[in-house]
C-alpha cells in the first residue's frame, strides 16, 4: 500500500529524518515507537502532506502513485487519514457539519454526488454509538472546549466516518484514561480489515495491548534502528530506550 524509500527530511538546516525505509501492506498494523525527538511525528506529518519540511531525498509511493506530488487534500481523498496529536479547534463549525463537508469533498473528488442527508445522519449515529459518544457531540463546535480525551475520541470518530485506507494515529493514546483508551482501541479494531492498514505512533505499550500490531519499529535519530513483532514493544516497555540508544551511538 505505502512504500517509503530512503526518506530524508529537514527543517531549516536540521536533519530530522535520515533515510527511512518502511513498507506497509493492506491488512497490516505497524507500530512506530521511539524516544522523544526521534522523528515519529515528522514522519506522520510528511505522509499527510504538511509543508513545513524540506524533503531532501527519497520517495513515498502510495498505491503506485508518487505521494509527495499530491496536495494534502488529494492525499486525504486517496484514503490517507491522520489522527492529530493536537487536534485544532474550529469555533462555530459543528462536528456534524465538519465531517459532512469532509465526506462530501472526498465524494466530489471521485465524481460522486453528496451523501444523502438521512444516510449521513444514520452513519453519524452509528459511529457515535461505537465510540460511546453522546449524540450532543455532533452539534458542538469542533474541538472547542473538548477535553483532551474528547478530542482524541473525536479524531477516531472522524476516522470511522471517513473509513480511510491508511490510518495514522499520532500519539492518539496520550492523555487518555483507561476507559477512553479501550473505546479508542475498539474504534480502531473495527476499522481493521484485509484492505486497510494502520500506523500507530506511540511511546507506550498500553494501546498495543488492545490493538495488536503485526510489526513494531523503533525510530531513533531519524532512522528505523530496529524492527520486530509485538514482542519488541513488550521488550521496550520492560527495558526502556536506553539499550537502543546505547546500540546506536
Amino acid at each position: 500500500m505505502i512504500k517509503i524509500k530512503n526518506l530524508k527530511a529537514r527543517v531549516e538546516e536540521k536533519e530530522i529524518l535520515c533515510g527511512i525505509n518502511l513498507e506497509i501492506n493492506p491488512g497490516e498494523v505497524h507500530a512506530i515507537m521511539g524516544p522523544n525527538g526521534s522523528g515519529k511525528s515528522t514522519l506522520s506529518s510528511i505522509i499527510a502532506g504538511r509543508e513545513d519540511y524540506d524533503i531532501s531525498g527519497g520517495s513515498i509511493d502510495f498505491e503506485g502513485e508518487n505521494l509527495l506530488s499530491l496536495s494534502p487534500e488529494e492525499r486525504a481523498h486517496k484514503g490517507i487519514f491522520l489522527s492529530f496529536q493536537y487536534p485544532v479547534e474550529i469555533p462555530g463549525v459543528t462536528v456534524s457539519n465538519f465531517i459532512k463537508t469532509a465526506i462530501n469533498e472526498s465524494r466530489k473528488s471521485r465524481g460522486e454526488e453528496p451523501m444523502e442527508a438521512r444516510k449521513m445522519l444514520a452513519m453519524m449515529r452509528e459511529k457515535t454509538v461505537l465510540l460511546e459518544m453522546d449524540k450532543s457531540y455532533l452539534s458542538r463546535s469542533l474541538n472547542e472546549g473538548f477535553s483532551g480525551g474528547e478530542k482524541k475520541r473525536n479524531e477516531i470518530f472522524q476516522m470511522a466516518m471517513l473509513q480511510p485506507k491508511l490510518a495514522i494515529l499520532d500519539e492518539t493514546d496520550s492523555g487518555l484514561d483507561i476507559d477512553a483508551l479501550r473505546i479508542v482501541a475498539n474504534g480502531v479494531n473495527k476499522l481493521r480489515s484485509k484492505k486497510n492498514a494502520v500506523m500507530i505512533i506511540t511511546h507506550y505499550q498500553r494501546l498495543l495491548n488492545y490493538v495488536e500490531p503485526d510489526f513494531v519499529h523503533v525510530l531513533y535519530n531519524g532512522k528505523i534502528v530496529k524492527s520486530g513483532d509485538k514482542n519488541l514493544a513488550l521488550e521496550l516497555e520492560a527495558k526502556g530506550y536506553d539499550w537502543i540508544k546505547a546500540e546506536n551511538t
Binding site: A48, G49, R50, E51, S71, P72, E73, R75, A76, H77, F81, L82, F84, P87, V88, I90, P91, G92, V93, N97, F98, I99, T101, A102, I103, E105, S106, S109, S141, Q158, L162
Partner: protein, 478 residues
C-alpha cells in the same frame, strides 16, 4: 506560501458589476437651492417637505465633513454629483407588469426576480434603483392588515401626517454632515408603518441599486412600529463596477413604540472597488432607532461591499425595559476601508443592549470597530454586553477596535470582550487533511466565526449572506 496566496486575492471578481441600459432622467450635476426645488417639484411634494429640505440644506452648508473615522479617501466634490436620477417612466405603476422589462432583467441578473419573490418566498419587496422606487410587491396583502409599505415618495403623498410626524425625529437634520445632506436631497427610499398590535406576517424587504454613472444615492427609510407590533425588515444593496467613486449617503430611522419589536437586517454588497483600489462606493450612512417602553430593536448587518464605509446603526433605549441589539459581520478585502459599529444609548431603567461584532480583514484592507455604550444618569440597572472579534487573513491588513464606554449611573453593568485571531495554517492543514481544500476550508472557518450573526438573519438571507462571504474572500488565505 502566504505572499503568493495573498496575491491571489484579486481572483474574486465583483459579480454584480453590470450596468443596465435604461433610459434615465438625470438632473445635471451640482447642488444648490434650485436643484432641491427641482427634486421636490419633480416629486410633486407638499410645501412643508420643500421647506424641510431647504432648512436641511442651510444647515448642511454650515457643517464640515467629519474626519474622525479611521479611513482615508478623497473627499467627494458635491458639485460634480447628480442628485436625482430616475428610470424614465410614463406614469405611476399599478402592477409589476408595467415595470420596464430592462429593469426586470436587472433584477433577474441580481438573482432577485420579483416574480420569483412574489410567488415563492412571501417576501414583500420595494426596489430602489438610483433614486426612485420602482416596484413594491405584496402591497395588497399587507394593506389587509393595515400595514403601509411603500416608497417614501408615495408616503409623502398618501400619508403625509405619518411622515411629517416621524421624519427627522430619530435622526435630526443637523445630526451630522451626511444626514443633513441626505435630508436636503433624499430622493426616495422606503416607508413602513405597522399598526398597533399587528404582527407583520412576512419579511419586508427593500433592494437598493445605484445604476447611473456620476449619481449619488440618498435614500431615506422610515419605519414606524406602533404599540405592540412586530416587523422584520431586510435591505440589500448592490452597485455596478465603475472607475469613479459613487456616493451613498442614506438615513434610516426606526421608531419602536411601546412593546413593539423591529428586526432590521442588511446585506450590503456595494461595489468595493477593484483589486487596485480604484472605484467603489462611499457608504456614509446614518441608521438609528428609538425604543419606547418594553420595546426592542435588533440590527443585523452583513457588510461585504463599499470602498469606504462608515456607519453605526444605533439604538436609543429611551423607554424603561427596552432592548437594543447589534449583530454585525464586516468583511474588508483588497483596499477596502470600514469604520463601523454601533451606539447604544441607555436612557430608561432596566434597559439592555447586546453588541456582537465580527470583523474580517483580508488583503490590504483596514477594518475598524467603533462603538459607544452610554448609560445615562437615570438609567438604573442598565446592562450591556459587547463582544468584538477580529479575524485577520494575511499580514498586510489591519483590524482596529475603538470602544467608548460612558456610564453615569453606578448600577450600570457593562461587559466588553474582544478577541483578535488569524486563520491559522494549522486550522487549514487540519481541514486539508480531512479532504477539504483551502478555499472551502476558509469558507467553513469564516462561516463558523460569523455564526452568531448569521443565525440572526432570516433563513433565505442567511444562505445568501453565506455565499456572499465566500465570494468576498475567494483567494484570500493567511
Amino acid at each position: 506560501m502566504n505572499d503568493e496566496i495573498i496575491d491571489e486575492i484579486t481572483a474574486s471578481e465583483y459579480k454584480y458589476g453590470f450596468t443596465t441600459e435604461i433610459e434615465s432622467e438625470t438632473v445635471p450635476p451640482g447642488l444648490n437651492e434650485d436643484v432641491i426645488r427641482l427634486i421636490s417639484s419633480k416629486k410633486n411634494e407638499p410645501k412643508w417637505m420643500l421647506e424641510w429640505r431647504l432648512d436641511a440644506f442651510q444647515t448642511w452648508l454650515k457643517m464640515v465633513e467629519p474626519n474622525w473615522p479611521n479611513v482615508n479617501y478623497q473627499k467627494p466634490d458635491f458639485q460634480t454629483i447628480s442628485y436625482y436620477s430616475a428610470p424614465k417612466q410614463k406614469k405611476a405603476l399599478d402592477s409589476l407588469d408595467e415595470v420596464d422589462p430592462e429593469l426586470l432583467k436587472t433584477f433577474e441578473k441580481l438573482g432577485i426576480s420579483l416574480d420569483e419573490q412574489k410567488r415563492l418566498s412571501g417576501v414583500a419587496m420595494d426596489v430602489v434603483v438610483d433614486s426612485v422606487s420602482v416596484a413594491t410587491t405584496f402591497k395588497e396583502t399587507l394593506a389587509e392588515k393595515g400595514i403601509i409599505f411603500c416608497s417614501m415618495s408615495e408616503a409623502i403623498q398618501e400619508h403625509p401626517e405619518l411622515v411629517r410626524k416621524h421624519l427627522g425625529t430619530v435622526v435630526p437634520k443637523r445630526d451630522n454632515f451626511y444626514a443633513a445632506l441626505n435630508s436636503a436631497v433624499f430622493t426616495d427610499g422606503s416607508f413602513c408603518y405597522i399598526p398597533k398590535g399587528v404582527h407583520c406576517p412576512m419579511e419586508l424587504s427593500t433592494y437598493f441599486r445605484i445604476n447611473e454613472a456620476g449619481t449619488g444615492q440618498f435614500e431615506r427609510t422610515l419605519l414606524v412600529a406602533d404599540e405592540g407590533s412586530y416587523v422584520s425588515y431586510l435591505e440589500g444593496c448592490t452597485a455596478p463596477s465603475r472607475d469613479e467613486n459613487q456616493l451613498h449617503a442614506a438615513v434610516v430611522e426606526l421608531v419602536a413604540m411601546e412593546k413593539a419589536e423591529i428586526k432590521y437586517s442588511t446585506v450590503q454588497n456595494w461595489f468595493p472597488g477593484d483589486a487596485e483600489g480604484k472605484g467603489g462606493v462611499f457608504n456614509f450612512v446614518t441608521k438609528r432607532g428609538i425604543c419606547e417602553r418594553n420595546s426592542k430593536i435588533s440590527w443585523t448587518q452583513v457588510e461585504t461591499g463599499s470602498a469606504v464605509t462608515w456607519k453605526y446603526p444605533s439604538c436609543i433605549l429611551k423607554g424603561d425595559n427596552s432592548v437594543g441589539e447589534f449583530y454585525s459581520v464586516a468583511v474588508t478585502n483588497n483596499f477596502q476601508q470600514a469604520d463601523t459599529g454601533t451606539k447604544m444609548i441607555h436612557l430608561g431603567k432596566n434597559t439592555k443592549s447586546t453588541i456582537i461584532s465580527k470583523g474580517i480583514s483580508a488583503g490590504r484592507s483596514q477594518n475598524s470597530y467603533r462603538g459607544l455604550v452610554r448609560v445615562g444618569a437615570r438609567a438604573e440597572n442598565a446592562r450591556n454586553f459587547s463582544q468584538c472579534d477580529s479575524l485577520l487573513m494575511g499580514d498586510k491588513c489591519g483590524a482596529h477596535t475603538f470602544p467608548y464606554i460612558e456610564a453615569q449611573h453606578p448600577s450600570a453593568q457593562i461587559e466588553h470582550e474582544a478577541t483578535t485571531s488569524k486563520i491559522g495554517e494549522d486550522q487549514i492543514f487540519y481541514c486539508n487533511q480531512r479532504g477539504i481544500g483551502t478555499e472551502e476550508a476558509i469558507a467553513l472557518i469564516v462561516n463558523g466565526y460569523c455564526k452568531e450573526v448569521l443565525n440572526q438573519l432570516p433563513m433565505e438571507f442567511a444562505v445568501e449572506a453565506q455565499k456572499l462571504l465566500e465570494v468576498s474572500l475567494e483567494g484570500s488565505v493567511g
